[in-house]
Symmetry: C2
Subunit: 156 residues, 2 copies
């Protein structure tokens, strides 16, 4: 009956909000990646796209968007920059001209070797135990799923 029963001023405490913790942690971790990725000539979102391509080879823009949960407004210019950097090719699928297939160039494929050490480098730089990271990752996935499925609840 003391807290969490009705809105109080204290509920607007920045330090108590999970979303801010998430927002700050995401930016802080991305900042750790930045100097490492800079040597590959990649930004963090570009690195994510490359991860998918290294794993799956040819991938449509739609599939990339589903994997990374990014829409075409974000991916289109990003992929153009990767193409301009000579790391990927883009071509319409002859079987379905609506679809654009993104594939690795030799240079893009070659970058993979330089990227294999990155996850370890980041883990070491932050110094957070692997077991804790695994459990954090699972909790975050749950949050993402819950948030993605969140009802707008304004339609009633």
């Amino acid at each position: 009956m003391t807290r969490a029963d009705r809105p109080e001023p204290g509920d607007l405490d920045l330090q108590k909000q999970v979303c801010f913790a998430l927002y700050a942690a995401s930016r802080a971790l991305t900042a750790v990646y930045r100097p490492v990725l800079e040597r590959l000539g990649l930004t963090y979102p570009q690195y994510l796209v490359m991860l998918v391509l290294w794993e799956r080879g040819q991938t449509s823009v739609k599939a990339l968007g589903e994997s990374l949960q990014l829409d075409s407004g974000t991916l289109s210019p990003l992929l153009k920059r990767l193409e301009a950097a000579g790391l990927v090719d883009r071509a319409r699928d002859p079987r379905d001209e609506r679809s654009v297939v993104v594939s690795l160039t030799p240079a893009g494929d070659g970058l993979r070797a330089q990227a294999t050490g990155i996850p370890r480098a980041i883990a070491e730089a932050t110094g957070v135990p692997a077991s804790e990271l695994a459990s954090l990752r699972d909790t975050l996935r749950k949050i993402t799923e819950a948030a993605t499925a969140a009802p707008d609840k304004e339609t009633t």
Copy 2:
């Protein structure tokens, strides 16, 4: 001796990377806030600034940046938009003309009442138990601290 001993292709698996989980969760949760904050005419980062102001009243740009871990390149235009919206005032501190003090207008202060219900609305929309959120928040803070203090380790 099986895994996590040396870089393997599997280490480049998107689904195993904590940073992506963080990145996706942060965007997903922000997306839950978006329609709620839209009714207040705020974006999520603007809401964070307002939280600090509701809590502390007059605050310098520097102090805002420290609280939110954002730099002036992000805050300056954001504060200008809040000022244009009539929610905050900006004025040089007469005691130190380098410093700009941001304060709430009556309209900005009035918005506070409409905001008190937001944390609860988000918590309900996502449906994640409060206890879990508290522990997640603590883990995230640890990550943020570790990442912020992370050495560049390229100077040797």
